[in-house]
Subunit: 129 residues, 2 copies
DNA sequence: ATAACTGCAAATCTTTTGCTTACAG
DNA sequence: CTGTAAGCAAAAGATTTGCAGTTAT
């Protein structure tokens, strides 16, 4: 793995936010001004293949771009607030159970799971009254 | 509602497949050759707002485009096979339960839910041996 | 040497927008 | 009349690709 790729991986892993390509590129350029958009895309493709990162759509809350996060030990759901744009994560044993059930009942071999929810977060509901 | 919009709605409702915009346009043009891509997009935006259709990504199995389906009474999950491209639907009480749990625990008001899975379908696993 | 990686620019694909004309309430 | 819808063409946004030069094995 090259230095540029290591840099990109590190940024994704260290970030608490979900990064889109433009943001990832911007951050990376602070440490390596020469890094190119194409390299970012190519690295992401690799990381996806190796299942080191997950790709998110986040209900396309802000254009059609994708967001990325380092794979965690536990799959989780993303809830995107259409009003304030906040992204919340949700982990639950029920989600794990559902996945297991899907595999058992359909024989499908799961490689990626994406559960995304769009709506209005609690705060916005209260503020919007 | 105009005739063109009714036509588009009818096509989406009657289709057993999940339609992308290009396909939807192609089908619509057989009945109204003048219909424009922009009209399709504008109609889809309306139908989404009114929650008459759901937008799917289907793990971007074939480019970045979206797919659409008429909303059914029951939310369901889509499983996309990376090998043969098949899309399978999966309905389960566990899914309903998970949604309810999410609402209760987070106070989030859900407007759209999308559970998509990518992997290898049973048939392809067997054929691929 | 050989194969993989990179930057750059151009191409592609999908979706959105501005503007003018046409239609519906 | 007045507002909404439609067609057209151009723009915008995100991602991919070809190619020539570079680096790593």
């Amino acid at each position: 793995m090259t230095a540029q790729r290591r840099l990109l991986v590190r940024i994704i892993q260290d970030s608490s936010r979900h990064l889109d390509v433009a943001t990832l590129l911007e951050i990376a350029r602070k440490q390596d001004a020469a890094i190119d958009r194409a390299t970012v895309y190519r690295t992401i493709a690799l990381l996806k293949e190796h299942r080191l990162i997950d790709e998110l759509d986040l209900m396309h809350i802000e254009g059609e771009k994708h967001y990325y996060e380092a794979k965690t030990s536990r799959d989780h759901c993303h809830m995107a607030c259409f009003r304030c744009g906040a992204i919340m994560e949700y982990v639950s044993p029920s989600f794990d159970r559902l996945k297991k059930e899907m595999v058992q009942q359909s024989g499908f071999q799961i490689r990626v799971v994406r559960l995304e929810v769009g709506g209005i977060c609690k705060r916005c509901q209260e503020n919007g009254k």
